[in-house]
């Protein structure tokens, strides 16, 4: 692909360290990456950014050899290369941090760090050399690894941030000239991130070429030299960090379709009804002392940084991970959601953002995916396909779901349509309370628009709805009232004109 004309304005060295052009990858009907381009230079930190599902990880995995591209070219040091697998990538000098981590849980920290290349003396693993080598990379994070972290600790007893550090150490231990970090900081705290950035700067100084992915805008502007933006599986542009602004980057990420995200009605529901759900001092794993009232016809937003207890509260209400203490009342009656079946029967619906884990029944048909709640709520014994199809059709139509037929496998649909099927299963028999746990993760913009239009309509019909979204724009546009979570507690309530991004950030970032 020829470079865009304005690229000539940038002082690009003669030859990029790594150059990727026109790579694509599709899984069945789901296109993960339609046209990825990336030019990486030695001695730079190159940020890759794009919303969930925009193809960043796929692009990285293609470079690292663990995903086989359908099309496209990878040029390393001026020569076209075939990255036939992770081993080939290792030999070519490409090291990668995997977002989902590539650690062996029952092996120790030091074994994991050295696993790709175990030091040997004769036929045996040189344990001393292994410990010494691992120690060098562990030492880089001296003082920020947290407690109970040692070279001989097995990875499965570590916290999420510690595991992420191990994966970073493992990546650094490859000593590869090209280093790819796919969301290495998502679980790290401030001091850990600072230390990591110090290391990155040093590596940059050594002339390494580094790809860095993060969703945190502040991190991107703190460490990046250039940024490449991906949208819907396509590279939309590359620019110097110094020449751009967060707002500009967001505009590139969102593209022209921004308007679709924000539905027409952002104002609070005209007349909220009776209290549908009421929590008093609810505490459990990941949240404590949560109290609020949710009214019929209201969309209550859960805000704050990711993982501050929002999901945990929703899962507790649904009985997936019951609360330890506190009271819940549903329609004024005490309610103990011991398990999801109890909650479903009581009229509570829950839509998880983790479709693959909690939502879709992979490998089965659309009909089978849309019916389980209907079975439970009506205590059905027989499953007549024609009756079920007739029941499910209006629910699917309400979401503008596109599908070829009920007997097609769910995997044949795009991510957005899969999520619509999962949501539609709750709409055959209307619940009283709808819990949306980051429901738009990884789905396309038009599907989001369909989803939020429906959510507003359901609220207007009297349903009580809680919406947690990791995307602030969605939250601000769709919630009537927002509870901001910080470290498992509700620290702020935003209503009316307070519902601004400024207040949301202020409450989310203040020390808990």
């Amino acid at each position: 692909m020829s470079p865009p004309p304005d690229q000539a304005l940038w002082d690009i060295p003669d030859m990029a360290k790594l150059s990727i052009s026109g790579v694509s990858k599709a899984y069945g009907a789901t296109v993960a990456l339609s046209h990825g381009d990336l030019d990486l230079e030695a001695g730079e930190v190159h940020v890759l950014i794009g919303s969930n599902g925009s193809g960043k990880s796929t692009l990285c995995k293609i470079v690292a050899g663990s995903v086989k591209p359908d099309k496209g070219k990878v040029v390393l040091d001026g020569a076209p290369v075939a990255v036939s697998g992770p081993r080939a990538a290792k030999a070519l000098g490409i090291g990668i941090f995997y977002q989902e981590l590539s650690l062996a849980a029952r092996r120790t920290v030091e074994e994991n760090i050295c696993l790709p290349d175990l030091p040997m003396t004769g036929p045996f693993v040189d344990r001393k050399a292994l410990s010494a080598r691992a120690a060098r990379y562990i030492a880089l994070f001296d003082g920020v690894t947290g407690e109970d972290f040692a070279a001989n600790t097995t990875v499965d007893v570590l916290r999420a941030d510690q595991r992420q550090l191990v994966e970073i150490m493992k990546t650094l231990a490859t000593e590869a000239p090209v280093l790819i970090f796919d969301e290495p900081t998502s679980a790290l705290d401030r001091t850990q991130v600072d230390r990591f950035f110090e290391i990155l700067r040093r590596l940059k100084g050594e002339g390494r070429a580094i790809v860095f992915i993060s969703h945190r805008m502040d991190e991107i502007f703190a460490i990046g030299d250039r940024v490449t933006v991906l949208r819907d599986g396509r590279t939309v542009g590359t620019t110097r960090i110094a020449d751009t602004s967060p707002a500009e980057v967001v505009r590139m990420m969102v593209g022209e379709e921004t308007s679709l995200v924000v539905p027409a009605q952002a104002e609070a529901a005209a007349s909220p009804g009776a209290v549908a759900l009421s929590l008093r001092g609810l505490s459990g794993k990941g949240f404590s002392e949560v109290s609020f009232d949710l009214r019929q016809g209201e969309i209550l937003g859960f805000g704050g940084l990711h993982g501050q207890g929002q999901s945990a509260v929703l899962r507790a209400l649904f009985g997936a991970a019951p609360a330890a203490a506190g009271d819940i009342a549903l329609d004024g009656q005490p309610f103990v959601p011991a398990n999801p079946r109890v909650a479903i029967r009581a009229g509570i619906a829950y839509v998880s953002g983790d479709r693959g884990r909690d939502g879709i029944i992979q490998g089965r048909t659309i009909l089978e995916n849309v019916t389980p709640i209907h079975f439970l709520r009506n205590r059905l014994k027989l499953a007549s396909a024609s009756t079920l199809r007739a029941k499910a059709t209006p629910a699917l139509a309400a979401l503008n779901t596109k599908f070829a037929g009920f007997s097609h496998p769910i995997g044949s649909l795009s991510g957005g349509n899969q999520q619509k099927i999962v949501i539609a299963r709750w709409l055959i028999d209307r619940p009283q309370v709808l819990l949306l746990d980051d429901p738009t993760k990884g789905i396309d913009l038009s599907a989001k628009a369909d989803l939020f239009a429906l959510v507003r309509k359901l609220a207007q019909e009297g349903m009580a709805i809680i919406l947690y979204s990791s995307e602030d724009v969605e939250l601000l546009a769709n919630a009537d009232r927002i509870l901001v979570f910080n470290a498992g507690r509700v620290t702020r309530e935003l209503t009316g004109t307070d519902r601004t991004r400024f207040h949301l950030y202020e409450a989310a970032y203040e020390a808990a």
């Binding site: 663990s66 981590l101 590539s102 062996a104 029952r106 074994e111 790709p116 175990l118 045996f124 693993v125």
Partner: protein
């Protein structure tokens, strides 16, 4: 294993970590308890003669459990180990009875036996790792094939092994029974193998095959080597069977396959792979042996013995898994 004795747990809470670190400990305790019970009911059973007999009878199962462990490390399973034992048994007995029973022949037979075991292991590795067939059904199919081969080599049981062979197995070196030397050699081998790259790689593959692949490990080759190692140890197990029974039998190993799997689980290794020790499997095999002898010593009526053994093994399997899980939570 040596470290286990050297470093006592630092505080009470670390006992859990200790079991986590040395997953064979519950098996060791169960084994020692069974040994004590055996001694209580039949003091002679824990004497030199009794222990020699125990080792002589169960050395084969110990080796076969070790063989199975290497495959289970990687999250695979080998249901053909018993058939490999049978095949190696009849091959070496047929060879020795054809060539005469002198020492050179015996050694040559053992080399051939190891070669046969290795070849069988490689066949399993190709079928499971390269062709990506389900391990459980594919190794069942190869077990039928290996049994066919064994029947071809020796259609009926009964060809005697030369006296050199079984006398050596049942004999003594420097006044110490041969089987104890064999146990010492086995311990050294296991220690050395545990130090190789393969041991760590097999466990990493069993832990998270995708992660291991993404880390640049040659996953297919590693699983192949696991099966090859399994074949070699199955051949060693066959030597012990041959020494113990002093004859060739094309079906001798058949019953041992499921016991080898049970021994591995008893030893604290995870069937799903990624976690375990070969030492534990040795203890597991001994637990099975000690249960069998204890049931006999306490005077269980003969027709009830199998049932009591079966129940005791089931309880030990379940208890072992529950203890191992509690240690981790």
């Amino acid at each position: 294993m040596v470290d286990a004795v050297a470093q006592p747990p630092r505080n009470p809470g670390s006992i859990k970590r200790f079991i986590e670190r040395y997953p064979f400990l519950p098996a060791l305790v169960i084994m020692l308890v069974l040994l004590a019970l055996n001694g209580l009911w039949q003091p002679r059973s824990v004497g030199l003669v009794g222990l020699t007999g125990l080792a002589k009878t169960y050395l084969a199962l110990m080796l076969l459990a070790v063989a199975q462990t290497y495959v289970i490390y990687a999250g695979d399973i080998d249901l053909s180990v018993g058939a490999i034992v049978s095949l190696v048994n009849v091959v070496i007995v047929a060879f020795m009875s054809a060539m005469g029973g002198d020492t050179i022949t015996v050694l040559a037979a053992m080399v051939i036996g190891l070669g046969v075991g290795l070849a069988c292991g490689i066949v399993n590795g190709v079928v499971v790792a390269v062709f990506r067939l389900q391990a459980i059904v594919a190794t069942f199919a190869t077990s039928i094939f290996f049994t066919g081969l064994a029947l071809w080599v020796m259609p009926v049981a009964g060809t005697p092994a030369p006296a050199t062979f079984w006398r050596a197995y049942g004999g003594r070196i420097l006044e110490v029974p041969f089987v104890f030397w064999a146990v010492v050699v086995l311990a050294i081998m296991l220690y050395l193998i545990a130090r190789t790259r393969l041991a760590i790689q097999l466990l990493a593959v069993g832990d998270d095959v995708q992660g291991a692949y993404q880390s640049g490990l040659p996953v297919t080759a590693i699983r192949m080597r696991g099966y090859a190692l399994c074949g070699l140890f199955a051949a060693l197990a066959a030597f012990c069977i041959t020494g113990d029974t002093a004859s060739g039998d094309p079906l001798v190993g058949g019953k041992m396959t499921l016991f080898s799997v049970a021994a591995v689980v008893l030893g604290g290794s995870a069937l799903a792979g990624g976690h375990g020790t070969v030492v534990g499997s040795v203890f597991g095999a001994l637990i099975i042996g000690l249960i069998n002898s204890l049931v006999y010593f306490v005077g269980t009526p003969s027709e009830w013995q199998n049932l009591v053994q079966g129940l005791a093994i089931l309880i030990a399997l379940v208890a072992g898994i529950l203890i191992g899980r509690r240690a981790r939570s």
